[in-house]
């Protein structure tokens, strides 16, 4: 404790330099936290969404990855029929073909994502728990049921017209309650309407809902065997695939933030080294009084660690603030919190900051502990 006080006093004795170094570490850690928070946010949002999707299996054309929003419609009516027959034989609850249509540009406020549903299917089969706040839950042949957020954002009300193409127009028949999920941003329309717009009779994917007690993996493999040219993916498989992809992107983002971290580390090393040079006599006095080399070594390393830890904690706070600000924007625009500062990210950031401090302090500490006492005291 007393040694820590000694370190703290020394840092406070040179306030401007200590503050500037602290800022360097703060910015480095803050930017790293922010970069990595996107991975954590995406991971959380994705897993939350996937866990909300009702059907446990998605069947997509072979060679593609599932649970995306669309893809080229390649599943033919013949393949759907075969899947329905196989599903019936396996005793599944429902086999639901889906088709997506995206309209608009890059701006989320002017973008619309339509999900086609077969006649008679309501959105709550695919997104359990969604409820209509106004109108009906199941769209008719000429109607649409829209998510709460998209309705609010685009000023849609019951009876509002929706033009999918110059030849296909629908009216809003129902508005869903906002649940904070993907359904908030979708417009559910008859599947036939999207097929007409796209000029196809195909589907982008087929969702398979299971009965209680059925094993998703086993049913998926059975469907693949029964219908050639399709891939049946379970939610678990998609989660594993997404985790792999997110890990790679985490590494890339960590690599980018490493530049800032190295600069922060060099700042700490520079500050501590300067401090060591200025305090050579002080260390000499301590050694003359009876301090062992290890005591001086620890003193210098502690100084470096303290600077890094303080910078790390403040950087973590800054990163969390920035992440919160980004979430305010993305929640408003797309209804998803795309950034998250999780416990493990906080621990990782503090670990990196401490590691940085340790590395930055080793050389100055080694130098300080090895200065001959006679030289340090100027007694040569």
């Amino acid at each position: 404790m007393e040694v820590l006080l000694l370190v703290l006093r020394n840092l406070l004795a040179r306030p401007v330099r200590s503050l500037l170094t602290l800022l360097g570490v703060l910015v480095a850690t803050g930017s790293m936290v922010l970069f990595l928070s996107f991975g954590e946010g995406l991971r959380r949002a994705l897993f939350q969404e996937l866990s909300r999707v009702g059907p446990a299996i998605q069947v997509v054309p072979e060679g593609t990855e599932g649970f995306g929003l669309g893809g080229f419609p390649e599943i033919t009516p013949g393949a759907l029929k075969a899947l329905e027959e196989a599903g019936q034989a396996l005793g599944v609850r429902a086999v639901v073909p889906v088709l997506f249509l995206a309209r608009g540009g890059f701006d989320p406020a002017s973008s619309f994502l339509f999900q086609g549903l077969p006649q008679g299917v309501a959105p709550d089969l695919l997104y359990p728990g969604v409820k209509a706040q106004a109108g009906r839950l199941r769209p008719s042949e000429k109607g649409a049921v829209v998510g709460g957020k998209v309705a609010r954002r685009s000023g849609l009300a019951l009876g509002s017209p929706l033009r999918l193409s110059p030849r296909v127009a629908l009216r809003v028949e129902g508005i869903l309650e906002e649940t904070g999920g993907l359904a908030d941003n979708l417009l559910f329309v008859p599947l036939a309407a999207i097929q007409e717009v796209l000029g196809t009779r195909n589907y982008s994917a087929v969702l398979v809902a299971l009965n209680p007690g059925q094993q998703a993996e086993a049913v998926a493999r059975a469907l693949e065997r029964a219908v050639p040219g399709v891939k049946a993916q379970t939610t678990g498989e998609v989660m594993r695939f997404a985790e792999r992809a997110l890990r790679i992107s985490d590494l890339v983002r960590f690599g980018i933030s490493l530049v800032a971290l190295v600069v922060g580390g060099l700042l700490v090393a520079n500050t501590v080294m300067m401090s060591v040079y200025e305090r050579v006599r002080e260390f000499g006095v301590m050694r003359a009084l009876g301090a062992r080399r290890g005591f001086v070594f620890r003193l210098v390393v502690l100084e470096s660690l303290l600077l890094s830890l303080l910078g790390g904690v403040l950087g973590l706070g800054l990163g969390a603030l920035a992440s919160g600000a980004i979430n305010l924007y993305t929640l408003d625009q797309v209804g998803l919190a795309l950034s998250a500062v999780t416990g493990r990210l906080a621990l990782f950031a503090l670990g990196v900051a401490l590691g940085l401090g340790l590395l930055a302090g080793l050389l100055p500490a080694h130098h300080a502990s090895r200065i001959p006492v006679v030289e340090a005291l100027g007694r040569v």
Binding site: R281, E282, M286, A288, L289, G290, R292, F295
Partner: protein
């Protein structure tokens, strides 16, 4: 515990030239004050460096009791210094970021004393050197004489058997010089006090005076060398 130097020799290389800083110094320091005097370059500082274990001799050895200081590692010598030696330097050498009290408590911290006991002992020592009213002042707010008294209190923290003082009054005005000299000689009683000084008045107040010249011990007063 007697401090003993046997055939102590220190040679330095200065480029191509070899400099003999101390040559064949042999002496057993008895209890009480021993002043070491001599002109600049006579080897006084080198002698103190070797006696305190700050540096190692080229030949010969230093013994504290039966412990051969010259044969110990740097950390072991530091441990011997901590347990048995105290130092007063010409430049005071107080830690600028610590208060007078904390400076005095520093050797006690190194020795692992608990905080409360440390601070009580440090306050007691500062009172002994007349600085009870300056406990929480940093060195920058103390006069030269006061800083030297803090340094003396620090040197006495672990009640060492051997006390080294290197030009302890060198940077002080007349009044402070007298105060520090009186305190030092008083505290030196019952211990081995090695006093390196240019100040003839201070040297005369020691019980023995060693004269060094050209790295050699010329004579000892009041007794003759070797007697």
């Amino acid at each position: 515990m007697t401090l003993r130097a046997e055939n102590l020799t220190k040679r330095y290389r200065q480029g191509e030239k070899e400099v003999v800083a101390l040559q064949g110094f042999t002496y057993a320091f008895p209890k009480g004050a021993t002043a070491v005097v001599g002109p600049s370059g006579s080897g006084k500082t080198t002698l103190l460096n070797l006696l305190a274990g700050f540096d190692l001799p080229t030949e010969g050895g230093v013994y504290l009791g039966e412990t051969p200081l010259h044969a110990l590692s740097e950390d072991e010598r530091a441990r011997v210094r901590l347990k048995h030696m105290g130092f007063v330097f010409q430049q005071w050498n107080l830690i600028p970021t610590l208060t007078a009290l904390e400076n005095v408590a520093l050797p006690l911290l190194l020795a692992g004393w608990p905080r409360g006991k440390r601070l009580r002992r440090a306050a007691e020592l500062l009172e002994r050197v007349g600085l009870a009213h300056r406990l929480h002042h940093p060195p920058s707010r103390l006069s030269g004489g006061e800083q030297q008294r803090v340094a003396l209190a620090r040197a006495l923290a672990l009640d060492p058997e051997v006390l080294f003082a290197d030009e302890p009054t060198g940077n002080l005005d007349a009044e402070s010089r007298e105060q520090v000299a009186a305190l030092l000689l008083e505290e030196g009683r019952g211990r081995t006090l090695v006093l390196v000084t240019h100040d003839p008045e201070l040297a005369q107040r020691a019980e023995r005076v060693l004269y060094l010249k050209g790295g050699r011990l010329l004579r000892e007063t009041p007794r003759a060398v070797g007697s």
